[in-house]
Symmetry: C2
Subunit: 141 residues, 2 copies
DNA sequence: GAGACATATTCCTTAAAGAGGATATAGATG
DNA sequence: CATCTATATCCTCTTTAAGGAATATGTCTC
């Protein structure tokens, strides 16, 4: 069992990279698949994937597979520390162009990804089946 | 000129080490000299000094020489980001034993260091002159 | 100016983080 | 099962961080 201080430090470790901050900022608006994050951040796939992996191992994001996309989101039940710091982060990024810009681009994207039926249309050009997955039903109502 | 996002990240870089968090927690109670920090944290001189140097280069603490002691403090005029995050940090550490313990030990120490005249009596066994330094006069009222 | 004290800096070693290219896996389609 | 798409992992390289020992600097005292 780890000391609680460790969790706090791990939160800050997650927060000290710009790509990760941008990811968290975007996820503050709701769950999103990797390919959309990639598109919004305009960064190579490896990079996004590794940062998401890092965030996940520290418990700062959660992931769920939805068909062949991975949907990342902020934890449904964050620790008080994480919650406080995510809130604080939100306040801090308000004034910074990069982050505002990301949210702006997200909002343009969002009409097409706001609900999971439409997320399934994600980055794929193919048709996807209409049946609900467990993730769709349980996690996103 | 650096992007504002950089500042934010630098704050988090400063926050992701336990020793530095403990230092910041202690300094939240007021300015303190290096030797007292050393004593409170019970860590080697090099370590404390280097962490303080790190914090200083990032603008997260300020330092002023007072005779032959260096007095460290949180910045008199922190950026909004820093202020918000220091506040958040304060909330978060409330519940963690290490940090509470540090403040407890600090408060035992503090009667002897609460005012600068007494800080000068610091870790030294020698007598120190009674005249005020510029730091004492200007910074600490 | 010599010596004592408080603190910082240098040098070295080790560990961790971050990047990218190439490859592997998992689910969906046909 | 062959193939496509989305994502993760492996390998390698470079950078940054952290720790400690030894040494340097700055201030004070005498």
């Amino acid at each position: 069992m780890r000391s609680p201080a460790v969790n706090l430090i791990e939160i800050y470790q997650c927060f000290c990279d710009e790509t990760r901050l941008r990811i968290l900022n975007i996820l503050s608006q709701g769950p999103l698949c990797v390919c959309h994050l990639q598109e919004l951040l305009d960064q190579p796939q490896v990079r996004i994937s590794k940062h998401l992996g890092y965030l996940k191992t520290k418990g700062v994001v959660e992931a769920a597979r939805h068909q062949n996309w991975m949907i990342y989101s902020l934890p449904a039940h964050p620790s008080p520390e994480l919650e406080a710091n995510l809130k604080c982060l939100q306040d801090c990024v308000q004034t910074h162009a990069v982050f505002k810009h990301d949210l702006k681009r997200l909002s343009k994207l969002r009409p097409t990804v706001g609900w999971l039926d439409e997320i399934t249309g994600c980055c794929s050009k193919r048709q996807v089946p209409q049946k609900k997955t467990a993730y769709e039903t349980k996690v996103l109502r």
